[in-house]
């Protein structure tokens, strides 16, 4: 994640599967084509307006198309979506075919996808089948009845028998052996 991502709207991946079940609602509401009448960088935009714009508007009756001539500024497409997203697309030196392709993208996408920072590369409504982890899963049941602080629980896991304990064990064993010998006699 770079610093330029910090100001993007964070979100999760989603598929607009519900759109089109009953009827399809075009998510693009309004598109403004801004261009200059003289400058060369708006040439493709002017060509598009002259030849293809009327067809585009007829094909997409749900989209409001505005034209906004501005002197000596480069060509721009601004799109507004049903969910409130606003997308700004610079079209300097674009050909009319390129502009048609970009407009097709804007009409078909459900929101301003490139304007969101995807928080995870995956998303699921059922994250876990066995249930999410809690601090109390996989816990040793003997902790339930323990009182704290507890010396037995605090002992290191790999603590070996000390020499002291080993000596006492040996002594006890010796005592028992002596007793058995005496009984045998």
């Amino acid at each position: 994640m770079s610093n330029s991502h910090l100001f993007l709207k964070p979100g999760f991946i989603k598929v607009p599967l519900q759109n089109g079940v009953g009827r399809y609602v075009c998510q693009l509401q309004r598109v403004v084509l801004k261009f200059c009448k003289n400058h060369g960088s708006s040439r493709g935009m002017r060509d598009f307006i002259e030849s293809d714009l009327v067809n585009f508007a007829m094909d997409n009756p749900a989209v409001v198309v505005y034209l906004k001539p501005r002197r000596h500024r480069s060509a721009v497409i601004k799109a507004e979506y049903l969910n409130g997203d606003q997308q700004w697309l610079g079209c300097k030196n674009f050909t009319k075919e390129e502009i048609l392709k970009w407009l097709n993208l804007l009409v078909t996408q459900s929101q301003y996808h490139t304007g969101t920072r995807i928080r995870k590369l995956w998303h699921t409504d059922n994250p876990s089948i066995q249930g999410p982890w809690t601090p109390f899963t996989f816990r040793d049941p003997k902790l339930n009845l323990a009182s704290f602080p507890n010396e037995e629980l605090a002992k290191p896991q790999d603590s070996n028998e000390t020499n002291h304990e080993a000596l006492i064990e040996l002594f006890k064993k010796q005592k028992l052996d002596d007793l058995e010998q005496r009984r045998a006699e």
């Binding site: 999410p132 605090a154 603590s159």
Partner: protein, 178 residues
């Protein structure tokens, strides 16, 4: 969010309380261990951006054991900000003034210096002895295992055990027992 899912969320992100007995333990090795519990790094849900750290109570910080001659050699530096305001305090001096300070500084220094560090430190509760407030102890549900076994001093054994301890050698006749 249904009420079941809400409770599930509470359960997953519940802060639990651990207790750690610092007696006879190296504070600098212990701090690496305590840090993991304080920041929640032992949890499968851990992520640096989610707030899943736990509380840790450290008891007996007065009884910590520094390795080698570190009581004499380790120096804590402080500067008041004024000219000539620098002070150097030896570890044993600092421990006399505040028996929790060495442990606290060890944990603080074991963590990266970011914005979360001070909030993480607020979840660490250090006590010089075993006197912990009851409302703190009531929360505890886990004991952190110590790094080293605690040795027991001779004067801590009952007198009967000392007397009945098996005789390993016979003292020579001219040996003087004081």
């Amino acid at each position: 969010m249904s009420s079941l899912k809400r409770v599930q969320q509470w359960a997953t992100f519940a802060r639990i309380w651990h207790i750690y007995n610092a007696a006879w333990q190296n504070p600098f090795h212990s701090s690496e261990l305590i840090k993991k519990y304080l920041m929640g790094m032992y949890k499968p849900i851990y992520h640096p951006m989610n707030d899943c750290g736990d509380h840790v109570i450290v008891i007996n910080s007065k009884e910590i054991a520094l390795p080698g001659d570190e009581w004499k050699k380790r120096v804590y530096f402080h500067h008041t900000g004024y000219p000539g305001g620098a002070t150097w305090t030896l570890a044993w001096e600092l421990h006399q003034k505040d028996p929790t300070m060495i442990m606290k500084k060890a944990v603080y220094n074991s963590m990266d210096g970011n914005l979360q560090r001070r909030y993480t430190m607020q979840r660490l509760h250090i006590f010089p002895d075993e006197n912990v407030p009851k409302e703190f102890l009531g929360n505890v549900t886990n004991e952190i295992k110590q790094l080293r076994p605690m040795p027991k001093r001779l004067d801590c054994y009952p007198e009967k055990d000392v007397k009945e301890f098996p005789k390993v050698i016979d003292y020579p006749e001219d040996y003087v027992i004081r």
